[in-house]
């Protein structure tokens, strides 16, 4: 910990958060906001004179509220940087200034303000960690009602030698040492109803650790652990579990249904013991809830800023679950620790090293070659309407609408989604490697024979196409008349491709992409959504059944969903008769004739 604060090549910014990210791999521009500390970090010697005189007392969040601190405080004795700070919301204000007078080094500054810092980097490691599960919704265990029910994190602080009780076990209600302690496992984990459906990985071992700590200090203490099954899968874990059992800790299979408090503060736990099949009551003087973990609270904000993807559980989705466990799908971004999923310290450290190695591998050459899949403007066709610049999620296009100068694409900033090409009404943008001509040729070929039998599907490279691959890897079966055209982003799917497909006799068309919020190109799929809605309205007006055009969001992890959507598309296709297709062709032919005559 201290090394991170001392290293000459590490610039540490505490009390800081990322507020915006621009650019791309090799060249990210990141804006940070550093909140004011009101104590000069470098000057403060952590003597603590200021806190002695401060009159304001607040619960200490580091000790999960089990002790108190002042408005000027240090989070914990070994904190890095080793400096006090003032919480201005709690401070009595400048009128008091007792701390100011007490500081010999004069490092308190009430006039400090938040600072904005811009840094330029080539790569980013996301290591935002975990948030402990908040057990308040699990009211059956009485956490909000009974003081002697604590979380495992509160328990950590109670038995910690540096904690509020100096490591001696007491229960909160009467500060007496409990003679018996119960642990309830899987609180906020492995449940469809509350918390996450996943296993939090660390709570079984953390409870076993707790029982060993207790037995070491208080050999006579009675301990009961209520569990579904004990997950002691890591190296050396089974040994600890066996040691705990041999010391007399009782492991009872079954999660309690309810907890009651007896007049003397004892907790009465009602549980169906799975081994005996009977309802049992256990009286314990204190209860510890083995809380699971959730992704850190800012995850969604950061995910949107960096254009990353999340698993259904809310943790970051890696590029490949086996072969690229610390890479994000976005080049230049890596994950480490619990941000990627629940894990223990050893695994978090391993991933930290892995992420560093991956970042070094990317950066060491000093240059990076960019994919040439970018858009290009044909200046002669451009009418300077400005639409492309408006839709580009990367602000990669500049158009001077007033001066009527043609659009210019900054190819280094262009990520290649193709939204601009799809939105330009004047055919002035060529999307390299996914040109109109190339895609139209694929449509023509697939509809050349037996068009009425085919299901034309557009799938984006990152989510839906990957979801289709995942269906394959899982050997899921779906109708064999599906034909996929891959684009980088669903935003590339041009209105004219859809009309063209219907003109060529397509019974149905599916556009598929990443879920809203998960788009690999920030929010390009919002344009897809708008466009599909618009086309469907036009279909309705022209007397073509709008259902024949479908839009589905399918993620890379949703192989099952992909297969299901294909079954649904086949059902839909069967509902489209040869007459209906013939009628559509007639409508579209008349329309194009009229347009020609109209000029």
């Amino acid at each position: 910990m201290a090394d991170a604060g001392r290293h000459p090549d590490i610039k540490l910014h505490t009390m800081s958060e990322v507020v915006s990210v621009k650019g791309y791999v090799g060249n990210f521009e990141v804006k940070l906001v550093k909140r004011a500390r009101y104590v000069l970090e470098k000057e403060c010697t952590a003597c603590g004179e200021c806190a002695k005189v401060c009159p304001v007392v607040f619960p200490d969040e580091f000790n999960v509220g089990l002790s108190s601190r002042k408005a000027v405080y240090i989070p914990f004795p070994q904190a890095v940087p080793s400096s006090y700070l003032i919480n201005m919301d709690e401070c009595m204000g400048r009128g008091c200034s007792k701390c100011l007078d007490s500081c010999d080094k004069k490092c308190i500054n009430f006039h400090a303000s938040d600072e904005e810092i811009t840094v330029k980097v080539g790569s980013i490691v996301v290591a935002t960690g975990l948030e402990p599960y908040d057990p308040r919704p699990m009211d059956e265990y009485g956490y909000t009602r009974f003081e002697n029910v604590v979380t495992s994190l509160e328990f950590e602080r109670i038995v910690n030698a540096g904690g509020p009780t100096k490591g001696s076990l007491i229960r909160p209600k009467d500060r007496k040492r409990p003679k018996s302690v119960g642990f309830i496992q899987c609180v906020g984990s492995r449940s469809k109803r509350k918390g996450g459906e996943y296993c939090s990985n660390i709570c079984c071992m953390n409870t076993i650790k707790g029982t060993l700590v207790l037995k070491e200090h208080y050999p006579d203490i009675e301990i009961k652990v209520f569990y579904i099954d004990i997950r002691a899968f890591g190296k050396g874990f089974e040994d600890l579990y066996n040691r705990s059992r041999s010391l007399g800790v009782q492991y009872l299979r079954g999660l309690p249904g309810s907890v009651e408090e007896l007049p003397d503060g004892t907790m009465r736990v009602a549980v169906e013991n799975i081994a005996t099949g009977r309802i049992e009551f256990h009286d314990l003087e204190m209860l510890v809830l083995a809380i699971g973990m959730k992704p850190s609270s800012g995850t969604q904000k950061l995910q949107e800023m960096l254009g990353l993807q999340l698993t259904p559980d809310g943790f970051y989705l890696e590029a490949h679950p086996k072969l690229q466990p610390v890479d994000a799908a976005t080049r230049g971004i890596f994950y480490a620790g619990c941000a990627e999923g629940p894990k223990d310290i050893k695994e978090s450290v391993t991933q930290g090293s892995a992420a560093a190695a991956r970042a070094i591998r990317l950066m060491h050459k000093g240059t990076i070659s960019s994919e040439p899949i970018t858009s290009e403007v044909i200046a002669d066709h451009c009418k300077s309407c400005g639409i492309c610049a408006e839709v580009c999620p990367y602000n990669a296009i500049t158009v001077d609408v007033k001066k009527k100068t043609p659009a210019i694409v900054n190819t280094a900033a262009c990520a290649g989604c193709g939204t601009c090409a799809a939105e330009c009404k004047f055919g002035a943008i060529v999307m390299n490697h996914f040109t109109d001509e190339q895609i139209v040729s694929q449509i023509n070929t697939l509809l050349a024979e037996k068009a009425q039998d085919k299901i034309l599907t557009f799938a984006c490279n990152w989510c839906s196409y990957a979801g289709a691959d995942y269906a394959g890897v899982s050997r899921l079966q779906y109708p064999a008349n599906v034909r996929i055209i891959r684009t980088m982003c669903s935003g590339r799917v041009d209105e004219k491709f859809i009309w063209h497909a219907f003109e060529k006799g397509a019974p149905v068309v599916l556009v598929s992409g990443c879920h809203i919020g998960d788009c690999h190109y920030i929010d390009a799929n919002r344009w897809t959504e708008k466009r599909v809605e618009k086309i469907r309205r036009k279909m309705e007006k022209r007397g073509i059944r709008p259902e024949r055009l479908q839009l589905e969001w399918i993620s890379a992890a949703e192989g099952i969903r992909f297969a299901k959507v294909m079954e649904k598309m086949e059902e839909l296709r069967r509902s489209v008769s040869a007459e209906e297709i013939a009628e559509t062709l007639k409508i579209l032919k008349e329309k194009s004739l009229k347009e020609k005559q109209g000029g």
Binding site: M1, K11, M15, S16, E17, G26, N27, F28, Q78, A79, K120, G122, I124, A127, G129, P132, E156, G162, M205, N206, I208, K209, G236, A336, G337, C338, D344, G352, S353, A356, A357, A359, I360, L362, M363, S369, S370, E371, I378, A421, N432, H433, T435, D436, E437, V440, S441, Q442, N444, T445, D469, A471, G472, R475, Q477, A480, N481, V482, R486, E503
Partner: protein, 209 residues
């Protein structure tokens, strides 16, 4: 061809193409369901297709050598590999193109494994028909591909690490010890994260900080 206005560059006037098509059997992964030989034969009559054959493992060293030799011998300028997902092996075959002296973007892949043989295991005929369609689509597309060149951009040799728990600290130290400048950003007043709150930790049962 169509009545729609399509965006095309003026410079896009191409001569006829010389296309090689390789239908990979992937051992039996594809060949068990798709009749690869038939697909290759049926494609061989298509315009501009000079070579069309099935191949055991296109991605293997001998497989790639065979394709490279054909490129030289028949003067091929575009290649269709019908095999597994491009998400898996597109980089492999792009490198192969480079080695054979062709622009890597004149390659097209048809996904006959993840999106065909594996998902229509019980319908060999329909799967073969689909494979043929997919290869034809790839041939149509490869004919129209343009060579592209990658841009070389500068790389800033610095890293931003967001979050200073054990994971972030470890990443920052490893990077810094290798001479890379690191910005370590932490929302709280101290580094350490969750671990700083723990006293003894499993499996070693010693102190965490």
């Amino acid at each position: 061809m169509t009545e729609i206005s399509i965006a095309t560059k003026m410079s896009d006037t191409r001569q006829t193409a010389r296309i090689g098509v390789y239908v990979c059997r992937c051992g039996l992964n594809i060949a068990k369901t798709v009749d690869c030989k038939k697909v290759a034969e049926d494609i061989s009559g298509t315009d501009d297709v000079i070579v069309s054959k099935d191949i055991t493992y296109a991605c293997s060293e001998p497989g790639q050598m065979e394709i490279q030799e054909d490129i030289l011998e028949h003067g091929l300028d575009r290649v269709v590999v019908a095999s597994c997902s491009p998400r898996l092996h597109e980089p492999t075959f792009r490198r192969m193109m480079l080695k054979a002296g062709l622009n890597p973007y004149l390659l097209e892949m048809a996904n006959l494994r993840e999106q065909c043989s594996w998902v229509h295991i019980h319908e060999p005929e329909a799967a073969t028909q689909k494979a043929e369609d997919l290869v034809k689509m790839s041939v149509a597309r490869v004919r129209l591909l343009s060579p592209l060149t990658e841009q070389v951009l500068p790389m800033i040799k610095k890293t931003l690490v967001i979050g200073a728990g054990v994971a972030g600290i470890q990443a920052a130290l490893d990077l810094a010890d290798n001479g890379y400048e690191v910005f370590l950003v932490e929302k709280n007043p101290s580094v350490g994260g969750t671990m700083a709150q723990l006293d003894k930790t499993f499996p070693t049962m010693d102190c965490s900080i």
